[in-house]
C-alpha cells in the first residue's frame, strides 16, 4: 500500500462514536448530536417565555408565570392564554414540521437545495389559499372553496400538487433529480396561476393574499394549533423511526439495496411524511420561507455528521420561528409577516456557518 496522506489530516478521534444501551435497545450517538437538541430546547423554552411577556401590552416574567400556574388577573390571563400562547404554540409546531420536513427531503434527494417548496407543496397550497381569498363569494366555484375554509383549501392544494409531482416522477421508484426537476417545473406553473388570480382580484384581496403567500402568524390560534399537534403526533414518530433507513438511503440506490433496504418503499414513506409535514405547516401559517431549506443545513453544521439530524432540525426550526415571531411582533411595525423575518434572521447565521466552516459548501 502506497499510503498517501489524506488532504485533511484526521485529528485523533475528534467525535468518537458512543453507545447507548437500555435493555434490548442499543444505538450510537455523538455528544454533539445530543447536546445540540438539548441546547436548542432550552433556548426555545426561554424564547417562548420571553415572547409570552412581550408585545403591545408588556407583562412581567413573574406575572406570566403566575398566569401559567392559574393565577393572575383577567386581562393578563386573556392576553397570555388566549392571544400569545396559541400563537407561540403555532410557531413552535410549524417550525418543528418545516424543520423535520426539510431534513427528510434533503436526505432523500441527497441535495441541500431541496425543500418541500420543490415538491410542489407550497405552490399548490398557495393556489388553494389565494383562490379562496380572491374568488371566495364572487363565483360559485369560489363559494364552494370558501365554504371549505382557507386552511383546508391550502392543505388540499398542497397535497394535490405533491401527488401530481409524484405521479409524474414515479418510475418503479423515485429518482431524486427527476423529482426535483418536475417539482420545479410544476411550482413555476403554480406561481403563474397564483399571479393570474392576483390580477383578477380587488386591491384589498390582493393585499390579504400577499400576506398569506409570505407566511404569517397573525391571528393564528388554537384553531390552527390543534390540528397541527394531532398531525405531528402521528408524523414525528414515523420520521424518527425512519432515521436508521435514511442513513443507508443516503448512499445511493444500489448501495442501499445491497444493504438490504427496500428502497422504493423507504423512499415513498420518507417523501409522503415530508410532504404531509410541510402541507399541515403551510395550511396553518402559509409558506413561511426559508425554514425548511436552511434549518436542516444549520442543524447538520452544528451537530456534525453526514446528514441533517431530524430532532435538531425540528427544534431549531421551532426556535427560528418563535424568535422571528418575537421580532416581528415587538420590533417591527404592525402585523409584519413572520416569513420576512425568518429569512433575515436565518440567512446571516447560515452564511456565518458557511464562511467559518471547514465543510465543503455545496449549498
Amino acid at each position: 500500500m502506497t499510503a498517501v496522506a489524506p488532504t485533511r489530516a484526521p485529528a485523533a478521534r475528534p467525535h468518537p462514536r458512543r453507545t447507548l444501551r437500555i435493555g434490548g435497545f442499543s444505538t450510537t450517538y455523538r455528544r454533539r448530536q445530543v447536546a445540540v437538541p438539548l441546547l436548542a430546547l432550552l433556548v426555545l423554552v426561554l424564547a417562548a417565555a420571553v415572547s409570552l411577556g412581550r408585545g403591545d401590552y408588556p407583562i412581567g416574567v413573574l406575572d406570566v408565570l403566575r398566569v401559567l400556574v392559574g393565577a393572575g388577573d383577567d386581562t393578563q390571563r386573556f392576553i397570555v392564554l388566549e392571544l400569545r400562547a396559541p400563537r407561540i404554540a403555532v410557531a413552535v409546531l410549524v417550525g418543528v414540521a418545516l424543520g423535520v420536513s426539510g431534513a427528510l427531503i434533503q436526505t432523500f434527494a441527497r441535495n441541500p437545495l431541496a425543500s418541500p417548496d420543490i415538491l410542489g407543496v407550497t405552490g399548490g397550497a398557495a393556489i388553494g389559499a389565494v383562490a379562496v381569498i380572491v374568488l371566495g363569494g364572487t363565483t360559485t366555484a369560489g363559494e364552494l372553496l370558501g365554504g371549505l375554509g382557507l386552511p383546508t383549501a391550502a392543505l388540499a392544494g398542497g397535497l394535490l400538487m405533491a401527488l401530481l409531482v409524484f405521479g409524474l416522477a414515479w418510475r418503479q421508484g423515485l429518482d431524486g433529480y427527476r423529482l426535483v426537476l418536475i417539482g420545479i417545473g410544476l411550482s413555476a406553473m403554480a406561481q403563474a396561476v397564483v399571479r393570474y388570480l392576483l390580477t383578477r382580484s380587488t386591491i384589498q384581496d390582493a393585499a390579504v393574499a400577499n400576506v398569506w403567500i409570505t407566511g404569517s402568524l397573525n391571528g393564528r390560534g388554537w384553531d390552527q394549533a390543534l390540528p397541527l399537534a394531532v398531525a405531528l403526533l402521528v408524523l414525528l414518530p414515523v420520521s424518527l423511526a425512519l432515521g436508521r433507513v435514511l442513513g443507508a438511503l443516503q448512499f445511493g440506490d444500489d448501495t442501499a439495496r445491497g444493504l438490504g433496504v427496500r428502497v422504493p418503499l423507504a423512499q415513498a414513506v420518507t417523501v409522503v411524511v415530508a410532504v404531509a409535514l410541510a402541507a399541515v405547516a403551510v395550511s396553518a401559517a402559509g409558506p413561511i420561507a426559508f425554514v425548511a431549506l436552511v434549518v436542516p443545513q444549520i442543524a447538520v453544521r452544528l451537530t456534525g455528521g453526514a446528514r441533517p439530524p431530524l430532532l435538531a432540525a425540528g427544534l431549531l426550526g421551532a426556535l427560528l420561528l418563535v424568535a422571528s415571531d418575537l421580532v416581528a411582533r415587538t420590533v417591527l411595525p404592525d402585523s409584519f409577516p413572520v416569513g420576512v423575518v425568518t429569512a433575515v434572521v436565518g440567512a446571516p447565521y447560515l452564511l456565518w456557518l458557511l464562511v467559518r466552516g471547514r465543510r465543503r459548501s455545496t449549498l
Partner: protein, 270 residues
C-alpha cells in the same frame, strides 16, 4: 438446482436462462452461469457487452425479464432483500458517499442488515467494524471524511464496509476504475486476500485482462450479452478468443511474475 455440478463445491449463485433488458433493449440473452462456493471469478468483455448488467442482476439490483437468479438454490428476487444482504454484498462501480461521512461511519453502515430498529448497535457490530477497519489498514483513517481520501484509500474504505457486512459472497463492479496501476494492484491484492484469507466467494467485473488472469481462478468472457467462454485464465485467454471477443490481434505469453497468461496487444482488427 437445474444443472448437475461436476465440481464438489456447492453452487452459491447461479444465473438460469437469465435475460436482462432495459426497456425493450435486451442486453443479456438467456445466460447460464454457476458460481461455486469459495471461487474467485472475473467477468471480462468489451465495453457494452453486458457484464456490469449481469453483475447487477446477480446482486438482485436488476430483475430479469426471463429466467431466474438463484442464491443458494432460491430465487433471489423472491427472497427478502434483508436476508440476501446477510449473504451477498455488493460494491457498485462508483458508490456514492454523503459529504462529511467518516470512514468509521461508512464501515459501520455495513452492519445495516444485521441490525433492527431496536438493536441498532450491538457489541458484535463494534467488534466487527473495528476488525474490518484494521484488516483493510484503514484504522488510522477511521475518523477522516470519505470525501477527503485518495481514490485508492476510498476503494479500501468501501471494501472495508463490504467486509463488515460479513457476507459469504461479494460482487464488485470494476473496483479498479479511475485508479493508477499501483492502486489497482493494491485493491486487487486486498480482494484476493478476502478470497484466500477470509474464504469469500468473489465475483468481479474487470477491464484489465492481465490483472484478471492474475487474481481470478476463473474467467468468464462475454460479448454482445452472450457468454462466450468460461474457464481458467489459461483456457479463456487465447489469441483466438481475443480476436473473436475483443477484435484484437494479440500475443499471449506467460506473465514473467506469476506465469498466468499475459496479453500483449498488436493491433485492433477490422
Amino acid at each position: 438446482m437445474t444443472a448437475l455440478e461436476t465440481s464438489t463445491a456447492a453452487v452459491r449463485l447461479a444465473a438460469d436462462g437469465v435475460r436482462l433488458a432495459y426497456g425493450d433493449h435486451v442486453v443479456v440473452h438467456d445466460l447460464d452461469l454457476q458460481l461455486t462456493d469459495g471461487s474467485f471469478t472475473a467477468i471480462v468483455g468489451p465495453n457494452g457487452c453486458g457484464k456490469s448488467t449481469l453483475l447487477r442482476a446477480l446482486g438482485r439490483l436488476l430483475r430479469p425479464t426471463a429466467g431466474t437468479v438463484l442464491l443458494d438454490g432460491r430465487a433471489i428476487t423472491s427472497t427478502p432483500t434483508k436476508e440476501v444482504a446477510k449473504v451477498l454484498g455488493l460494491l457498485p462501480q462508483t458508490p456514492l458517499a454523503p459529504e462529511g461521512l467518516t470512514v468509521a461511519d461508512l464501515v459501520a453502515r455495513g452492519r445495516h442488515p444485521h441490525q433492527s430498529w431496536l438493536r441498532q448497535w450491538s457489541s458484535d457490530d463494534e467488534a466487527v467494524v473495528t476488525e474490518a477497519l484494521s484488516w483493510t489498514d484503514m484504522a488510522e483513517l477511521a475518523d477522516s471524511p470519505v470525501d477527503a481520501l485518495s481514490g485508492g484509500q476510498r476503494q479500501r474504505a468501501w471494501i472495508s464496509m463490504a467486509l463488515a457486512q460479513g457476507t459469504d459472497l461479494l460482487l464488485l463492479d470494476e473496483p479498479t476504475t479511475y485508479l493508477d496501476l499501483a492502486h489497482q494492484v493494491d485493491v486487487l491484492e486486498l480482494v484476493g486476500r478476502l478470497h484466500t484469507e477470509r474464504g469469500r466467494t468473489v465475483v468481479v467485473v474487470l477491464h484489465d485482462l492481465n490483472l484478471a488472469a492474475r487474481y481470478a481462478q476463473r474467467l468468464v468472457a462475454m460479448k454482445d450479452g452472450v457468454l462466450v467462454a468460461s474457464g481458467t485464465p489459461e483456457e479463456v485467454l487465447t489469441e483466438q478468443l481475443l480476436a473473436e471477443v475483443f477484435e484484437l490481434e494479440a500475443r499471449v505469453v506467460p506473465d514473467p511474475v506469476t506465469g498466468t497468461p499475459m496479453v500483449v496487444p498488436v493491433r485492433r482488427l477490422r
